[in-house]
């Protein structure tokens, strides 16, 4: 890292965007800062800002350059950064805990054994750890409604695969770099497919199309393939048998 890379860092994104980056690795503090900073920009409703989002460690602001110059928005962002210590902001309000029935391993999630081996665990031990870890939605991205979840224990800091798995199905729980992703649609991936759910993260036909929010927490509780079959037979609402409760603390 050079001196120029001190964080938080404000940079331009293409023709019409700015990016405020709080760290270049995934950390809890940077993730909270990104969520809170993005929420503040939404609150401020600056004229000319068209869209914002938060990624794992950054807040992105898209704007109309005919109304706001790059230099002008950079100045505003820097002033806002100086107003408080964003790294110590609390998590968003209204967070929820989701318990999602999940089949670990079997032919439904064929890379569980290999992921366990990469973590230096036997499969049972890996399932025990993965299914009892309460992970948080760090960001929603790549595909609609799709959460990046973490952190998992350091033993699961395993790299992505060199070769892509051609296609894993919707509802697949995949693992790499101490994170889960719960896929919102069928997709090729370099992450290891360790669990399978019937949870639909994106339900375009429903009033509430996007189910999860950053800050929500999830537990992927083990069920048998037969139990998942039963859940699938009665899954018109797309919840895949998941339950949801408010986090009050």
């Amino acid at each position: 890292m050079t001196v120029a890379d001190t964080f938080p860092l404000v940079r331009t994104v293409g023709f019409d965007g700015a990016l405020v980056t709080f760290a270049n690795t995934m950390t809890e503090d940077a993730n909270r800062a990104a969520l809170a900073f993005r929420a503040e920009i939404e609150q401020l409703r600056w004229d000319g800002v068209t869209e914002t989002s938060a990624t794992l460690g950054s807040a992105y602001i898209r704007f109309d350059p005919q109304h706001l110059t790059h230099a002008g928005i950079r100045l505003r962002l820097q002033r806002l950064l100086e107003q408080q210590n964003w790294y110590s902001t609390p998590l968003p309000e209204g967070r929820r805990l989701w318990r999602v029935p999940t089949v670990y391993g079997t032919d439904l999630a064929p890379q569980l054994k290999e992921a366990a081996a990469a973590a230096g665990l036997d499969p049972e031990d890996a399932i025990q750890r993965l299914s009892t870890t309460r992970v948080r939605v760090l960001t929603i991205g790549f595909a609609p409604g799709q959460p990046y979840l973490g952190p998992l224990g350091p033993e699961f800091d395993i790299p992505r695969l060199q070769d892509l798995t051609p296609m894993v199905p919707e509802g697949a729980l995949v693992l790499a770099i101490s994170q889960f992703v719960l896929f919102s649609g069928p997709t090729p991936t370099g992450w290891r497919h360790v669990g399978q759910t019937a949870f639909r993260c994106f339900r375009p036909e429903m009033e509430q199309s996007f189910v999860l929010r950053p800050g929500d927490e999830m537990i992927f509780e083990p069920v048998s393939p037969d139990q998942l079959d039963q859940i699938r037979a009665n899954n018109t609402d797309g919840t895949g048998g998941a339950t949801c409760e408010e986090i009050t603390a």
């Binding site: 331009t12 293409g14 023709f15 005919q66 960001t139 991205g141 595909a143 375009p204 199309s209």
Partner: protein, 332 residues
């Protein structure tokens, strides 16, 4: 009013200007791959560029109107006949009830557009009619579908000279936040390289090929997933560039070397397989000037519409026309 689909190409979708505002939910904007074509269609029909049109990737279809309907054809020029007679592209036409409009393969470029007076009134999902195939928001148009058409009145028989953009060429780019991950030698070589569009392309992105080495970034495999915008030029693991299009993913770990200006995205999306592309880095001030000129041109389009003069060669029953009847005096 409605248009019935009797035949249809494999990748025809309803598109408007897209669905901004859901980036934070992982849903990219979608919208027409060639936004200029939407404005051209709107100018030809004298209506809002927010109207939805049918985007036809490479191949059109066969359409029948239930009632008299105004249409306009823009974007990639395609073979087209109305009840068996050729009609010009980049023009508006009257489609009478029962008449068959047959649109074939693209002659140049990729994306042709069929506009209807009043716009296509498909279901609005999350504020837009744009189909997003990868997100399964809407779906490709199928045989037997009926496109509902909005209320309409107005003229037809108008034409518009299209901006040339159907055979590749120069794309202006600006540096983005990951450009500095590539060293100066690589950036220089990138700007000097002649690329051609590869065969892998859809509304998510288009692959580019070139002779010589790929374009790798420093520490490419350890980059944290970060925001993606349409127009980004993403380097895959092998260092081959992809230009990302309206249905791109919203975040990703592959580094982006630069971003194509919005005003050059119609040219990028319309570049056919095998056609050559070059990139030129411009400063943000130059980019602003180019984009402002493009926006001004969009605003001028309605004033550039002209009457379509029928070419006598294309009138099959010319001899049956009474060509001098009604003329009373040459001096009238």
């Amino acid at each position: 009013m409605s248009l019935t689909i009797h035949r249809i190409g494999p990748a025809c979708t309803i598109q408007d200007q897209g669905r901004p505002g859901f980036l934070d939910q992982g849903l990219s904007r979608s919208g027409a791959a060639d936004i200029l074509a939407l404005y051209e269609g709107a100018a030809l029909l004298g209506q809002s560029p927010d109207c939805a049109a049918l985007e036809m990737a490479g191949l059109g279809g066969e359409f029948e109107a239930t009632l008299p309907t105004r249409i306009a054809l823009t974007g990639a020029p395609m073979q087209v006949t109305l009840d068996g007679s050729q009609v010009p592209w980049n023009a508006s036409h009257q489609l009478e009830a029962g008449q068959r409009l047959v649109i074939g393969a693209a002659l140049q470029g990729n994306y042709g557009y069929l506009h209807v007076g009043g716009g296509i009134q498909s279901e609005v999902l999350l504020g837009s009619r744009s189909t997003h195939l990868t997100a399964k928001v809407g779906r490709a148009v199928q045989v037997g579908d009926v496109l509902v058409v909005g209320a309409d009145s107005g003229h037809t028989g108008l034409k518009l000279a299209p901006a040339e953009r159907f055979s590749g060429g120069l794309l202006h780019v600006v540096a983005s936040f990951q450009t500095t991950l590539f060293d100066d030698t690589t950036l220089h070589r990138f700007a000097q390289t002649k690329f051609w569009r590869g065969t892998r392309a859809n509304r998510m992105g288009m692959q580019l090929e070139s002779d010589g080495d790929g374009f790798a970034a420093k520490g490419q495999l350890n980059i944290l997933s970060e925001v993606i915008t349409p127009g980004d030029i993403q380097m895959t693991g092998t260092g081959n560039p992809f230009i990302l299009l309206p249905e791109c993913q919203t975040t990703g770990g592959y580094p982006r070397i630069a971003t194509v200006l919005p005003c050059d995205m119609p040219r990028a999306a319309q570049t056919p397989a095998g056609a050559a592309i070059r990139f030129e880095f411009v400063t943000m001030d130059q980019a602003m000037a180019l984009q402002s000129a493009f926006d001004a041109e969009l605003a001028r389009l309605p004033g550039k519409v002209e009457p379509l003069l029928r070419d006598p060669h294309n009138i099959p029953d010319l001899l049956s026309y009474q060509l001098i009847g009604g003329v009373i005096s040459a001096n009238d």
